[in-house]
């Protein structure tokens, strides 16, 4: 079942007086419980696509179908209701939260705003969400700035799954984490995906991470799709120039030794 279908998505800006396409005629689909990765160098359009899908930006052309409905046609209450099913986790959770808020407050917001749980139910829901992402329920009363980066990213994931989304956009969500923490966060994401059938739009500059968790990959260059397919197959034998360059530039432990 297709959760997200994007077709001919285009976003143009002007740079130095000249128009340029940040995203040009991009099309892809993501099925239930599937992970589609977007890879590409800086400026290739990965994050712009994320913002377009989240409707933080409006496209100049193209279509976004989410859960079978025309997502770009929604507005007002209908858009807000549908947004509960489409969540996001960014690279820096500190920037995504009010730093002085408590963990409980951060998780209370989506439950309240989307009317998922009553006032009396919410503390139990919050405890359950924390447990779900591998955190101690006692963390609820701590301030966001007091907890570690890995814990904060788990809270961001807890907030994202609070509304039982069908799709989460993960924009460089593990890029700032220490490698030892990163592995456990990726495991958590895979657990949530298999148990709750969540689809991921997984944006990363790191092909190693993409290969570890993604089913399919789309490689972008200058706003266009240059290659796409099964993640492992594409990374093992890239056909596009930029795909080859990305693979060649990825550090390996067993090669390139001085």
């Amino acid at each position: 079942m297709t959760v997200l279908a994007v077709s001919d998505l285009t976003k143009r800006y002007r740079r130095g007086g000249k128009p340029f396409a940040a995203v040009e005629a991009v099309s892809f689909e993501i099925g239930q419980a599937q992970t589609l990765a977007l890879a590409g160098p800086s400026g290739s359009g990965k994050s712009t696509i994320a913002r377009l899908v989240l409707r933080l930006l409006e496209p100049d052309a193209g279509r976004i179908e989410f859960e079978g409905a025309d997502f770009l046609a929604l507005s007002g209450a209908a858009l807000r209701a549908r947004r509960a099913k489409l969540q996001m986790v960014f690279q820096d959770p500190l920037a995504a939260f009010n730093p002085r808020a408590t963990v409980a407050r951060v998780l209370d917001d989506p439950l309240r705003i989307h009317g998922i749980a009553s006032h009396t139910e919410r503390p139990h829901r919050i405890a359950a969400l924390l447990e779900r992402v591998g955190l101690d329920a006692g963390l609820a009363q701590r301030a966001i700035h007091e907890i570690s980066g890995g814990q904060r990213q788990r809270v961001a994931i807890a907030r994202a799954i609070a509304t039982r989304p069908s799709l989460i956009v993960l924009d460089e969500a593990v890029s700032a984490l220490d490698v030892s923490v990163r592995g456990r966060i990726l495991e958590l994401l895979l657990d949530l995906q298999s148990q709750e059938r969540i689809a991921y739009l997984f944006i990363s500059h790191d092909l190693g991470v993409i290969r570890a968790v993604a089913h399919r990959v789309v490689i972008l260059d200058a706003g266009r799709i240059v290659e796409s397919g099964d993640a492992r197959a594409v990374i093992a034998d890239p056909q596009s120039a930029i795909g080859k360059a990305l693979v060649a530039a990825t550090p390996r432990l067993n090669r390139n030794r001085p």
Binding site: V179, S180, V209, V213, A249, T250, R252, N254
Partner: protein, 280 residues
């Protein structure tokens, strides 16, 4: 090999939290080697880079000593007398003897000064030459760091360049006075994979051409391994592993080093998706 600097029982404590950022660090850096310092957040790797460069903030309490064995201008063979406790900065001069590349080139470049002048300023300040000669050096440095159209870049401001180009400018400024030691502190972490590989190749080439010693500070052991002769692993402020790159990769002594290697998601490792078994 001759030793460039010798660190003994170094400890650093920041005022405020009172926690030791570094403790009991003893390490010799050999002249001409490429030494990677690896660690995760809070390991003390940046503190080590800063204390070596003499850049540690006021209020940090430093114990132990760093002895430098810099070849003097008069006697390029190097001094035999050990200058103890060089932290009080009698010997190395930042810019002249040590070049420093930071993670974010924007923070080390003046946004309202053309980049050519910023590079020339380093050469002029340390080499005792006039502006004209300094600009000639700046232009040749822009060529050496492989920036296109050096004449145009000389007059460009940092915001007119891409992130990778800015880091090349910062590298040109760092080596403008011909330092013996180049310290790169997460110098490629903010760049995408392709630009990162280019900058690492550039650092490798410049270090070889100028016979510099390199301290490459990174959280990424795989990246460091592509460049380093030796790897030092820091954790919670302590040096827990040190060895030749191949030895660290093939036979790490410390369990934490092995954990770091295992956590690396390479292009040849079994994907997490598979390790978990069935996934449709």
């Amino acid at each position: 090999m001759t030793t460039l600097l010798s660190i003994r029982d170094l400890a650093v404590r920041y005022r405020g939290d009172g926690l030791a950022a570094l403790k009991g660090i003893s390490l010799d850096v050999e002249a001409g080697e490429r030494l990677a310092i690896i660690g995760e957040s809070g390991s003390g790797k940046s503190t080590l880079a800063l204390v070596i460069a003499g850049l540690l903030a006021w209020g940090a309490k430093i114990d132990g000593c760093i002895d430098w064995f810099l070849p003097t201008d008069a006697d390029a063979r190097g001094s035999k007398d050990r200058q103890a406790s060089a932290i009080n900065s009698s010997t190395p001069r930042l810019g002249r003897d040590i070049g420093f590349i930071f993670q974010d080139p924007s923070s080390s470049l003046d946004p309202v000064m053309p980049v050519g002048r910023q590079i020339a300023e380093v050469a002029r300040a340390h080499l005792g030459i006039g502006w004209q000669d300094a600009f000639a050096i700046a232009k040749s440095l822009l060529e050496r760091v492989r920036l296109p159209d050096p004449d145009a870049i000389l007059r460009a401001y940092p915001h007119q360049l891409s992130g990778g180009q800015r880091q090349r400018v910062a590298i040109a400024a760092a080596i403008a006075a011909g330092p013996k030691l180049l310290i790169a502190d997460e110098a490629t972490s903010a760049l995408d994979t392709i630009v990162q590989a280019e900058i690492v190749a550039l650092i490798r080439r410049l270090v070889a051409e100028d016979g510099m010693t390199l301290l490459f500070i990174s959280h990424d052991i795989a990246l460091a391994a592509t460049l380093a002769d030796r790897i030092a692993v820091l954790r919670h402020g302590e040096l827990i592993d040190l060895g030749e790159t191949n030895q660290i990769l093939d036979a790490p002594r410390h369990v934490y080093t092995r954990a770091l290697l295992d956590a690396h998601l390479g292009l040849d490792a079994a994907p997490l998706l598979d390790r978990r078994g069935a996934q449709s």
